[in-house]
């Protein structure tokens, strides 16, 4: 019995190990994200810098349609600032009481406006490639935050024998190494409001944090509630164990 159980467990461990070894592809640089772990939280300064990177660099091609301007309040923007940011965009609304559509400036309740009106428009402007909406990108990739960060810093010259077509770029972390997105970040591409030096790794880390927030704005609430819930359950289970012991005291089993 014991040996068969041990054998079984060993078999399972070996099997799982083999499976994991088989699926791992390119080694991603591991970063310690502030939002990882049981007590993880978003760093507000980093999120704001990340939003600046998104606004000045990514937003040219990538939408963020699941986020509305008012949600930027979570990053520490004031109501006035949010109104001003929203008003930079023009939205088609209507019909009005004359039955006509009209243009109006954005409101805090509007979702971020996608850069292209539809998929063909996005493809024709991008050499046939479709820049994905970034709202959920961190959850939509395995090991999302590390993957995104790695791709952003992973551009380099292709190996000599690596053939690239027009409009393709070499990225050491992108699956297959061929990516249609031109290197988005260059030293000093963004002038941070808080004066942080805009190096490529800095911008990559900031925008990754920002997109981790857009993927799951409730992450902090989830983890906070989780700590309380688990602590409560541990105490409750301890009490239940004591009650169980007491009730079973007289039973020989």
């Amino acid at each position: 019995m014991r040996w068969s159980l041990c054998g079984g467990i060993a078999g399972v461990v070996i099997g799982v190990g083999a499976a994991l070894a088989a699926v791992s592809e390119v080694e991603l640089p591991e970063r310690r994200w502030s939002f990882a772990g049981m007590f993880g939280t978003f760093e507000r300064d980093g999120l704001r810098r990340g939003y600046e990177v998104y606004r000045n660099v990514c937003a040219g091609c990538h939408g963020l349609s699941l986020i509305r301007y008012r949600e930027l309040a979570a990053l520490g923007y004031s109501a006035e600032e949010i109104k001003a940011l929203a008003a930079e965009q023009t939205y088609t609304d209507g019909p009005n009481d004359q039955g006509e559509m009209f243009e109006r400036p954005g409101l805090p309740a509007d979702p971020f406006k996608s850069p292209f009106p539809n998929e063909p428009a996005a493809r024709v402007a991008n050499n046939g490639a479709l820049p994905p909406d970034l709202s959920l990108i961190v959850e939509a990739r395995k090991n999302g935050a590390n993957h995104l960060y790695a791709v952003l810093i992973g551009y380099e010259d292709p190996p000599a024998d690596f053939a690239l077509k027009e409009g393709q770029y070499y990225n050491k972390y992108f699956p297959g190494h061929v990516i249609a997105m031109p290197p988005p970040l260059a030293e000093g591409a963004v002038t941070y409001a808080d004066g942080t030096e805009a190096t490529v790794p800095q911008m990559a880390a900031d925008v990754t944090s920002f997109l981790a927030w857009t993927a799951e704005p409730n992450l902090e609430a989830r983890k906070r509630m989780g700590v309380k819930t688990v602590l409560f359950l541990i105490v409750l289970t301890g009490l239940l164990y004591a009650v169980k012991r007491k009730i079973w005291l007289g039973v020989r089993h």
Binding site: V16, E139, A140, N218, L233, I247, V251
Partner: protein
């Protein structure tokens, strides 16, 4: 077992007209349960509780979800972002499915180890297998509802299996889809059935419980209870033991929901469904992986489908494949070893199912598939003839009341784990 006398006049008034309190008292207070049940017997009640959790969270999700291909994905994100505690409800539901399957798998393997499927509990076991099949159908259709990439492509692959049926396959698939591809009608009917099936499960669970209470629980010794010295009332002994087990289970469930809510999920399902773009690897939910591996172990489509359904079908006839009169593996030294081989085999099948069908995965998958059927169709019937079981104790009360020196030490590990 005289009828209970209730002190509360309201209870008495109701019970006289509608004897629900007598019924409850009979099925809980007096229900004689073997005194030696181990913690492996907690998983039945845990499965029942998970069914309730899934129905309650599911009903709330249904209040906010939109079953339309243009809105389903966004409505799930709406639940995650804008519905009050919607993220909690949705994570409880999607991880609840995985926890439900974990609990039910343990429950089934416990039944296999202790021979709980043997006379007179054959129908109890068969009803359990029916619940399992209904659960798989429900889970599959539920996974389609968020209308992500894996939802869409999983639905496409699985429904396409039916096209392997000779002559009418194509028509059957079109009938299932409600069209010529997985599309809005498919999503709508899956939503409708995903709401219906849990209540069918409830109905079969009721039958499962009726069948259970006919002869009571099996036990780690696998011998029948012979009198009051072998049993204790279900309440309070097993209610409190189940409550404690529930506490431990909820801690694990909460750790997953709050700290690793996407652990069991595929990242691709956070990409909206796109019929024009096939993901590189289409994998079903983890609890289907062993069956997926069996499906792909056969180079012929129809053969694979038949084998996959046979892998569940064999469970229906298990009570008649295993003719050994001894239930518990504790007294079946050889069966015990093969039981653990089967556990490992199922895990291996799961790993194979998670990997692309290339290279050595094909070979491993085929060997594991052959072993699965070898176990049930050859080894189990053969063992029940050839194996010499160890002597059974006289009664449940005997070993425990005479000092507990009876059971050999290694076997204890399983009971107390």
């Amino acid at each position: 077992m005289s009828a209970p006398v209730f002190k509360n006049p309201v209870v008495r008034w109701i019970d006289y007209r509608l004897p629900i309190f007598t019924f409850l008292s009979h099925e809980l207070n007096e229900y004689p349960t073997p005194r030696n049940l181990s913690y492996w017997w907690n998983f039945g009640s845990l499965a029942g509780i998970m069914l309730v959790v899934m129905i309650v969270t599911g009903i709330v999700l249904a209040m906010h979800y939109t079953p339309h291909i243009d809105h389903a994905f966004d409505s799930v994100e709406w639940i995650m972002r804008d519905v009050n505690y919607g993220w909690l409800i949705r994570y409880l539901h999607m991880n609840g499915a995985s926890m439900f399957f974990i609990v039910v798998f343990v429950h089934m393997f416990r039944g296999l180890y202790y021979g709980s499927y043997k006379a007179p509990r054959e129908l109890l076991w068969i009803l359990g297998v029916i619940i399992f099949v209904l659960m798989m159908a429900t889970a599959f259709m539920g996974y389609v509802l968020p209308w992500g990439q894996m939802s869409f492509w999983g639905a496409t692959v699985i429904t396409n299996l039916f096209s392997a049926i000779p002559f009418v396959g194509e028509s059957v698939v079109n009938w299932l889809w409600g069209g010529f591809a997985v599309d809005n009608p498919t999503l709508n009917r899956f939503y409708s059935l995903h709401y219906l099936f849990p209540f069918l499960i409830v109905a079969v669970v009721v039958l499962h419980l009726v069948a259970l209470h006919r002869f009571g629980s099996n036990n780690p010794l696998g011998i029948d209870t012979k009198g009051p010295q072998d049993t204790i009332p279900f309440h309070p002994y097993y209610t409190v033991k189940d409550m404690f087990g529930l506490g431990v289970f909820l801690i694990v469930y909460a750790l997953v929901v709050f700290f690793a809510p996407n652990l069991f999920g595929e990242p691709d399902n956070y990409i909206p469904a796109n019929p024009l773009s096939t993901p590189p690897h289409i994998v079903p939910e983890w609890y289907f992986l062993p069956f997926y591996a069996i499906l792909r172990a056969v180079p012929n489509k129809l053969g694979g489908v038949v084998l996959m359904f046979a892998s569940i079908g064999v469970l229906f006839v298990l009570p008649w494949l295993d003719r050994s009169p001894v239930r518990s593996a504790r007294f079946r030294p050889i069966y015990k070893i093969f039981f653990w081989f089967l556990v490992v085999d199922c895990v291996v099948l799961g790993i194979v199912g998670a990997n692309p069908p290339e290279g050595h995965w094909i070979t491993i998958g085929r060997i594991a598939t052959i072993w699965y059927f070898l176990h049930f169709l050859i080894l189990v019937p053969l063992l029940s003839r050839l194996e010499r079981p160890r002597p059974l104790p006289m009664s449940i009360g005997q070993p425990v009341l005479s000092g507990g020196a009876f059971a050999p030490a290694p076997a204890r590990m399983m009971d107390k784990a």
